[in-house]
Subunit: 180 residues, 2 copies
């Protein structure tokens, strides 16, 4: 955990934390932004892999569509705890806020990563819901994404790490009530 925020995290700080030199860093990365791209790309891949594993488990357990959708939502609640606990790196969280808002010159890799991310989410949720066609899957999966980002910000603002899970739980309960 170096410091928070892309801009607030100086290259020098990364060097100090990783114990490398400037020469080494810029030998492997063309720019600071290049590192961010690599981190985000890897984070997206890891996140999707974990989510997919979770969903596969739900399918194999023979859960019904509604339960599978709930499992989908629960995944984020658990992820929230992990993120707020700091196990996951600081550059990982709230990618949207970081990249889309902070830095005006958004790089293609990250924008594309977000697109892929959302598409896969929608696919997984659609698969989970199966024959339940009474739900706008795309809108709902995006909403999870939105809540995730917003909840992170609120948790940071209040200083209460539990706030993130709580907010995601609110969403889950709403969806639960609607689906049942």
């Amino acid at each position: 955990m170096i410091d928070n925020g892309f801009r607030a995290t100086t290259v020098e700080a990364v060097l100090a934390a990783s114990g490398t030199s400037k020469g080494a860093f810029f030998h492997h990365f063309a720019s600071k932004r290049d590192l961010a791209d690599a981190l985000v790309t890897q984070y997206v891949a890891d996140d999707l892999a974990m989510l997919e594993a979770g969903m596969t488990a739900a399918f194999e357990a023979g859960a019904d569509p509604t339960s599978r959708a709930i499992a989908f939502l629960r995944y984020y609640e658990d992820l929230a705890d992990e993120i707020m606990a700091g196990t996951t790196g600081c550059l990982y969280t709230s990618v949207l806020a970081e990249m889309e808002l902070v830095d005006a010159a958004t790089s293609d890799p990250i924008t594309k990563a977000v697109v892929v991310w959302r598409e896969r989410y929608a696919e997984l949720l659609a698969a989970a819901l199966g024959d339940r066609t009474d739900v706008d899957v795309d809108a709902l999966s995006d909403h999870v994404f939105v809540t995730f980002e917003g909840a992170y910000l609120l948790a940071r603002s209040t200083g209460d790490p539990g706030e993130m899970r709580r907010q995601l739980a609110v969403l889950r309960r709403l969806v639960e009530a609607v689906l049942r």
Copy 2:
């Protein structure tokens, strides 16, 4: 519309857009952050005033608790359009993302403003819901806040201004389904 993001918005840009000089600026504001504090404070006040007016209107129209809660949610949908249309200034939107995430050294005025903001939201939503005690008001009002911030980020990421309203509508429909 100068530029996006607190850090990305240079003082020079503000001067150019407002047609003033550096001397004038720093005569009125102690620092760049001071301007942000003032803007946020004013934005919160304006926002709350508008929301209160809307809720008062709903009460005077004799709407039932559920309808009043829906009116509460609809307020944000309309606000979303206004914000994405650019009528409202760029520094106004996504205060949380701006201040809590971007700049590590958060100033007291803004943190406090966010607290007041959320408290008042909760009060207004509680009043709207009236005798309906089957809802966790605090959690729900915070959830609106969360969705608002997250939806803004998504809209910025996708480049589609309509995305913000769409996401807020998803939340409203969920709440609608639960309340009815």
